[in-house]
């Protein structure tokens, strides 16, 4: 026998579903159904537009994230929260999905660059979890703990001059609290450390000045893993700010003299993202112009492949290539 409460709850769910359904269907752009339906690409496109159109979609996502964050300080798969509101990428606690043998890569890249008379300076950027281990609830196992030293050994074994950034980044705010990357101050100190090593090479200098221009609200890349949305003001994570900088390079020599950029920077988002201003700090520290061939989201190896592919197209060759390699892209197994 159907009870009244059963009937009412069924009708309520049906009514709510109809409301959401009508809202989603009416807000979803149909697109062009004549293209891609055979292989399913039209369907995938429509489906992703539909998902975003479901009423209260953002609210539901935010609610789920807020509950998990409030109860367990928990983020979505891909990031972990630790003490004092410090967030870390999960990549620093697991083996990289795709990696290459560092020793072989250094030998390969160094050999190609040497053919062009270019010196290679590899720079391993230590993990945030290494430099801010005191913010972790637990440390990391020996394999991860010794990864940086192993990487430096690989550089030495390849006959290259490396840079150990651990001392330079050993200060409280060397990384952003809600981001995978270093802070501008961390980037500045790293640039000074790198410049000290690169200065052994001979290249033309120029006047470079860097000024601090202020401070803006900063949304770290790890905030995407805890999308508390409208609940953020109440439950967190707390917001943070970032200082902004501008660097200007005064061209050296005559107006019609061929422009030579003596140093190239190849790397990842540590170098490519403007908000950390690493490129500017490196120019400042070197007192030289820098060609930035870094890119976001491709790891350290693909940008170097691209740079090597296009090196012959450069109008003038750099004397030194600084290769920024985040530690988390290296295997902990070897």
């Amino acid at each position: 026998m159907q009870s009244h409460s059963d009937t009412i709850s069924t009708l309520c769910i049906v009514a709510l579903t109809v409301v959401f359904s009508l809202g989603a269907i009416s807000n979803t752009h149909a697109g062009d159904p004549t293209h891609g339906w055979l292989k399913g690409t039209y369907q995938r496109g429509y489906e992703s537009r539909f998902e975003r159109s479901v009423p209260a979609n953002d609210g539901a996502v935010a609610l789920w994230a807020a509950v998990k964050w409030s109860l367990f300080q928990e983020m979505s798969t891909g990031a972990v929260a630790s003490k004092d509101g410090w967030l870390f990428t999960a990549e620093e606690f697991s083996e990289p999905g795709e990696t290459r043998d560092l020793r072989e890569e250094l030998a390969r890249v160094g050999k190609i660059l040497a053919k062009y008379g270019i010196s290679l300076v590899p720079v391993i950027v230590p993990d945030k979890a290494r430099m801010h281990e005191h913010h972790l609830a637990r440390g990391r196992s020996e394999k991860f703990a010794s990864r940086y030293d192993r990487a430096l050994s690989s550089i030495k074994a390849a006959g290259l001059v490396g840079v150990d950034l651990r001392d330079a980044l050993s200060f409280p705010d060397s990384f952003k609290r809600t981001d995978t990357h270093w802070s501008p101050e961390g980037a500045r100190r790293a640039a000074l450390e790198i410049a000290a090593v690169v200065s052994i090479y001979d290249f033309p200098h120029t006047n470079v000045t860097t000024v601090e221009t202020g401070s803006v609200l900063f949304e770290g890349d790890l905030i995407a893993f805890v999308p508390t949305g409208q609940f953020r003001a109440r439950v967190g994570p707390p917001r943070e700010y970032i200082k902004t900088f501008e660097t200007s390079v005064t061209p050296a020599g005559d107006l019609f003299q061929e422009v030579t950029i003596p140093v190239a920077l190849v790397g990842t988002s540590f170098s490519a993202k403007q908000e950390f201003h690493f490129e500017g700090f490196l120019k400042q520290a070197l007192q030289a112009d820098v060609l930035n061939a870094s890119s976001v989201g491709q790891g350290p190896f693909v940008p170097m492949d691209t740079f090597l592919d296009e090196i012959s197209k450069l109008s003038s060759l750099p004397s030194v290539v600084v290769w920024e390699i985040p530690e988390r892209f290296l295997s902990s197994q070897r």
């Binding site: 159907q2 009870s3 409460s5 059963d6 009937t7 009412i8 709850s9 069924t10 309520c12 769910i13 049906v14 709510l16 579903t17 109809v18 959401f20 359904s21 989603a24 269907i25 339906w37 055979l38 292989k39 399913g40 369907q43 429509y46 489906e47 539909f50 998902e51 479901v54 209260a56 979609n57 539901a60 996502v61 609610l63 789920w64 994230a65 998990k68 109860l71 367990f72 928990e74 798969t77 972990v80 630790s82 999960a90 606690f93 697991s94 083996e95 972790l136 609830a137 637990r138 440390g139 990391r140 196992s141 991860f144 197994q333």
Partner: protein, 458 residues
Amino acid sequence: MVFSTPIFVFGFLPAFLATYYVLPSKARNWLILLASTLFYAWWRADALFVLYAIAGGSFLSGHVVSRTTHAAVKIWAVRVGVCFNLAVLFWFKYTTFLLGNLNTALGGDALVVPEIILPIGLSFLAFQSISYIVDVARGDAPVAKKLSDFLAFSTLFPQLIAGPVLRYKDLAHQFAHRKHSLLLFSAGLRRFLQGLAMKLLVADGVAPLADRMFALPDPSMAEAWLGALAFSVQLFFDFSGYSSMAIGLGLMIGFRFPENFANPYTSSSITEFWRRWHISLSTWLRDYLYIPLGGNRSGNFKTYRNLLLTMVLGGIWHGANWTFVIWGIWHGGLMAVERALVAKHRSFAWPKVIAWPLTMVFVLLGWVVFRAETLGEAVAMYAGMLGANGASLRLEVVTLTTTSELLFLLLGVVLSIAPRLNLPRFEPSPALQFATLSILCFVALQVRTNSPFLYFQF
């Protein structure tokens, strides 16, 4: 289309149900056919050709079988129909595997391995079609009178992608006459929501944990067992959740599908496990493979052989990978051992005190090779389980393991073995269950946007 997606819950399903209940009874089977076509084409429309070729071919075969008075024609119609289904299944599912292995055996790449996309749900469809042809020939099932009804049965969207493996004889009369009522609809909706919660909350809740443990190259003993346990919970709640949703959807439109799970993790032997796990598949294997092979009618040795063969073929049915062959051997071998033990001297295969935990260990060990992508990965997990890489969880694993993963794992374990725990019964009112599940499912539905069912790959 996946049941646990917004496009299904807020798009396809409401539109289908509204149209279904507006249409007169006679037009409803046509609507099911049309909706099922759209449901399947949502994955990719070109796969409809395979779907309709199998359904049409099987209908034709059944038609010839039922009409002919010549025994030879009947036999050949069955053979051609079954072989056609198996040939399509083989081509799409096993060609790449076979050619790849041949290349390995020949030590080169002399054979060109084509890229073949496996149409989703093909294995289920092929088995359903074979059972139809065989049942018609045996006189166990009525021949489908209308092609449209048979196509609607073959493509019936609630069970099209991952079962339960239905038989035409169980549903034929339901295509002709179905009862509809608010009571049935409510029961169906509740069952659908239960299944949705099993999938979105428990299965998807522990899935990241299982994935991380299986991705470890050198898991420790604790990590390997944790991974095996997490996958056991994930698989059960994923597949059982899907089956619940299918049964619930069926009820909403007046169909009664058979149950596919009956507390499998309370089994005290592997033989019992297969009476409780994926029941529609195990009964299919029994009726169309084990018994035709001779069953247990020709002495002990042949019985053991038939058990092993049936489970190996059941394993291969899951996928073209040596891991499934090993999984089939494991289960078939254990069933043969249990049969031998029972035949010898007792009513229970294993001593009663250890029967349940021992069976669960067997099942967990089996799931490892079932989940592993390669035999190498499975061996690494087994080595970990035996303690080859140390005993404890490493620090990174502890850091990455979240509280909610552990809570969902615990919830999954408790719910899976609840009948054995004699827990006090807690049954909140259906209305409260309804409301809670609806809210949780609605929120989880928005968050877990990309979580296909594990059995879709088969």
